[in-house]
Amino acid sequence: MATPAFPKKPAAKMNVTPVVYTVNDFEVSSYLPEIFRGVGVSMRHFFENTREMLRGQRPDPVLERYDDGITTISYPEQKRPYPERFRGVHRLTTRQDGSMRCVACLCCSTACPAQCIFIEAGEYPPGDERRGYERYPVKFVIDELRCIFCGYCVEACPCDAIRMDTGMHPVPYDSRDQFIYDRDLLLSLKGHGGTFETSNPRHEPGEPGYPGVTREHSH
C-alpha cells in the first residue's frame, strides 16, 4: 500500500487525564496470590458441598434454592413441586357418593379453543331419580395432544366437574392415539388433595348439606 486512503489525523488534545484502570504491580503480574485466592474459593466450595453430600444435608431445592450448595433435583426420582394453579392433565371429579359430577352440558367442549373435548351425552335410564334433570356423558374424550392447557374448560364448567389439578404432564407416548384420554381414565386421576373429589366441598343438589331448594324440601 503506497499511501493510505484516509491518513490518520493527529489525536485531539484532551483536557482530561485518562484513568488507568489496569493494575500491573508485582502481585498481579506474578499470578500467584490471585491463583491462591481463586483456588481457595474452589476448595471452600468443594469441601462445603462434599460435607453436605456426605452428611445427607443438601439444601432443599425449593425452600433454600438461593443458598450456596447442591440444590440439584434428580428428575425423575425427585420432582420440583408445582404451584397450586399449575394446569396439568385434566381429570373428572366425583361427588361424595362416588358418581361423577359431569352432567354433559357441553360447556367445556364449547369453550375449548383447541376443540379437543368430545362429549356424547346420554339420558339416565327410566326410573332413575335424576332422569329429566341431569344427563351423563356416555363418552368423554379429551385429546391431550391437541389441548393447549389454557384452563378455559375448568372456568366454563358450572359443576366443577373438570379440573386440571392433577399436576401431571402428559408424558411422551409412542404414538398419537395414546394421548386420547377417555372417560374412565379421566375419572381415575387424582387431584391436589389426593382425592377424586374436588378440593372445594360444593353444596349442590343431591349432596348432604345443600342449603338450597330441592325437590324434597323447599324453604
Binding site: V62, L63, R65, P83
Partner: protein, 459 residues
Amino acid sequence: MTTTQLVWTFVKILVMVGFVLNWAGILTWADRRQSAMIQHRIGPNRAVVKIFGKEVRLFGLLHTAADGIKFFTKEDFMPPRADALLFMLAPIIAMGAVFALVAAIPFGDTICPSRLPANLSQIFAGPAVPRFGMCSADPKSSMHAIDLTVAPLDIGILYMFAIAGQGIIGAAIAGWSSDNKFSLMGALRAASQMVSYEVTLGMSLVGALMIYGTVRLDEMVRWQSEHAWGIFVQPLAFFVFFAASVAENKRIPFDLPEAESELVSGYFTEYAGMKFGMFYFAEYAEIVTGSMLLVTIFLGGWALPFLHRDGLTISFGSHEIAHVLVSHMWMILLGVITFFAKVIVVCAVQTFIRWTLPRFRYDQLMKLGWKILLPASLANILVTGVVYLVLDAAGPGVTEALKTAADVTGVIVWAALIYLIVRAMAGLFAPIVHRQTLLGSSADQARRRGGTKTEPMQA
C-alpha cells in the same frame, strides 16, 4: 539379575504401573466429580449396576468403566489419506512415554531383607535399622538391599528429561499424520508449547540439583529427609516446575492444544475408539507421573520430617529432643503410603487449579514460557549458586543455624498437616446452616408439606 531381583522388579512394576493406571482412571472420575462439587452440581451418577434389583450408583465411579467399554467398542477409524504408520504410532509413543517415566521414581526407602525377621508373621516386629549406611550384603545373595524403584538409575533425572521429551513427538506426529488442518494446528501448538516448557522444566531443576548434589532421585529424597524439603529450599523452582509440568501435560490452564472449545480436540480430533482412549488416558496418567516427580524432588518423596530410617528423631540443630526406634517394616510401609498419599494430594491440587483458572491464550502462553518462567528459572540458578557458595564458605555457626532452620521447616510441615487433619474433622462435623427463601406459591406449598425432600437418593 538373580531370580529374587527379577521377582522384586516385577512386584515393583506392578505397584508403580498399577498405581498410575488405577489412579489415572480414578482421576478421570475425580475430574468430573470434583468439578461438580466445586460448581454446586452432583456430577455423573447414572452409570449403575443392578445388584438384586436395587440400583447401586457408587458415586459415579462406574462411569470410568463405562468410558473404558465405550473406548473398546467404538469403531477404530483412520482417515483415508492419513499416514497409517505414524497414525498408529502416535498414541503408543504418547502412552509409552508416560509409563516409562515412572521407572526411575522411588516410592519408598531401601528394604534391607537381612535386617528383617525371617518369620513373616513377625515382620512388623523386627528391629530398627541404623539411620546411616546401607545394609551391606553380597549383591548376588538374596539378602541384597532392595531399592523401591523399578529402575534405580544413576542418571536419575536425566532419564526423566529424556522421556518427557518423547511426549512431544507423540503429540506432533498425531496431528501431522491426521490429514486434518485443525489437527495440524493443534499439533503445532502442542509441540511448540511442550518444547518451550521442556526447557523451563529442565532449567528449574538445576538449582535443586546444585543443592542436593546428585541426579539420583532416591538420593534427593534422602537429602530432603536429612535436611529440609525442596519446597523450602527452592520455592521459586517449585512453582516454576509445577507450572512447567502442568504445561508439559497440556492441562488447563495450558490446554490450548486440546482447546475443547476451539479446535474440537486439537491434535487428536481424528482419533476414535481406543487410540483416543490412549491419548485421553495418557494425559491423566501424566498428571500422576508429573505429581510423582514434583513430590520426589520438592515435597520430600516418601519421607516425612523427623522420620528417618531408624524411626522418629526430633532434634533442632544438634540438640536431640526425642528418639523413638521403629521397626524396619513399619518405616518402609509408612514411606510407601506417605509417597502415594502425597501424590494423591498433588493430583487433587492440580484438579482444583484446572477448575479455577481460565485457559491461557497462545501468545500469553508462549510469553509466559519464554519471557517469564525461563528467566525466572535462570535467575533461580544464579541466586542458588551464589547463596550456596556463600553458605558453604561460611563457618560452622551458619551450618548449625541452617540445620535448626531446616528442623523448623519440619515442624511447620507437621503443624500444617495436623492442622489440616483437625480442621477437616472439625469441619466435617460442624453444624450446617441453610438459608430459606420463600418465593412463590410452590415454595409455600413445599414449606407447608415440610420440604421437598423425598427419600434420600444415592449420590
